[in-house]
């Protein structure tokens, strides 16, 4: 089952800069950052991946480009998942937002933004969601020290 999906995806999606591989029985589509929204639209419309499961990022501090932005989609019709990956540099961590395709992208992109600093162009509402107003920095980046607290209420003793 995954092999024929990979072949179909490869046939329809592979073009300049886009490749389709298989990782642990899951098709993985790697695209440049400018092609994210178009590829997601193709996945949603042509291949029936109608449920956006997850948006997250990975920080590779020693590598350029620094961040991997990772999307997972699920098709409630064909009952399979696909992963969409893209790489963005630290200097310009901008990806197009999928808010227009999926409502669930709103919260997930907010979380990815506050944790890693990825800017989702087109998502008007990138307020902190798990963190609070006034928090400086992006905690899940590898250079943010784990124990660096930013208290809102002054401590007592």
């Amino acid at each position: 089952m995954p092999a024929e999906i990979v072949d179909r995806l490869r046939a329809e999606l592979a073009s300049e800069g886009r490749e389709v591989t298989l990782a642990q029985d899951m098709p993985v589509v790697t695209v440049p950052p400018t092609a994210v929204r178009e590829t997601a639209r193709q996945l949603a419309v042509d291949h029936a991946f109608d449920l956006l499961l997850d948006v997250t990022a990975i920080d590779w501090p020693g590598r350029t480009p620094r961040f991997d932005v990772v999307y997972h989609f699920y098709s409630t019709k064909h009952l399979i998942r696909v992963r969409l990956k893209t790489r963005v540099p630290e200097a310009e961590p901008v990806v197009d937002s999928l808010r227009s395709l999926y409502g669930s992208a709103a919260f997930m992109e907010r979380e990815c933004h506050e944790m890693y600093g990825i800017v989702f162009r087109g998502n008007m509402d990138l307020r902190p969601i798990l963190l609070y107003e006034g928090f400086v920095g992006h905690p899940l980046r590898k250079d943010y020290p784990k124990q660096q607290e930013q208290p809102l209420v002054p401590y007592r003793k």
Binding site: Y132, P139, P145, E149, Q150, L152
Partner: protein
């Protein structure tokens, strides 16, 4: 401690009979106060499940007079901080604490409220006593209901033995 210091003896010499009645009055007032606690369950995380368990059968806090929660800080006197308090939640905790009227007590329910538990990172406050004063700490992650009842009983001992300021000074 949130109680002002009260002299053991009332000002002015009194007879021993008066002292006897005043002690009995203190015990009676202490008994009445300790068995009429109105907790404010400031519930955040997993300890909430144990709070639900301790409030209902078979561990019932109603036997100790501490069952009826009052969800307004103005009407409650025991602030039970149940679960992890994060830095985002800290201003809310502080505001709720300040809105409560004296006399009030605070119970740090669970390891996260006591010391941050094992969340020693940028997000969690390492113990709510950094923000508000705490009267009784309940260890456990989450604490067994018997531990909670033990803590309520210890708190009740303390309340029973303490002096009510106004009643003592003018009696």
């Amino acid at each position: 401690m949130s109680q002002p210091v009260i002299p053991i003896r009332a000002a002015g010499a009194r007879s021993t009979a008066f002292e006897y009645f005043s002690t009995k009055k203190d015990e009676f007032v202490g008994w009445a106060r300790k068995f009429s606690l109105f907790p404010y369950p400031f519930v955040t995380a997993c300890c909430a499940m144990e709070f639900m368990a301790v409030s209902s059968t078979p561990y019932d806090t109603d036997r100790f007079g501490a069952a009826l929660p009052r969800f307004s800080p103005r009407q409650s006197d025991l602030l039970m901080v149940v679960g992890t308090v994060t830095h985002k939640q800290a201003p809310i905790l502080r505001r709720v604490y300040e809105q409560m009227c004296e006399p009030k007590w605070v119970m740090a329910f669970g390891a996260c409220a006591t010391s941050g538990g094992f969340y020693q990172n940028y997000a969690a406050v390492a113990g709510i006593d950094r923000i508000i004063p705490v009267d009784v700490y309940v260890p456990g992650c989450p604490p067994r209901p018997e531990t909670v009842i033990d803590a309520i009983m210890k708190l009740q001992d303390r309340i029973g033995r303490s002096h009510h300021p106004i009643l003592t000074e003018s009696f």
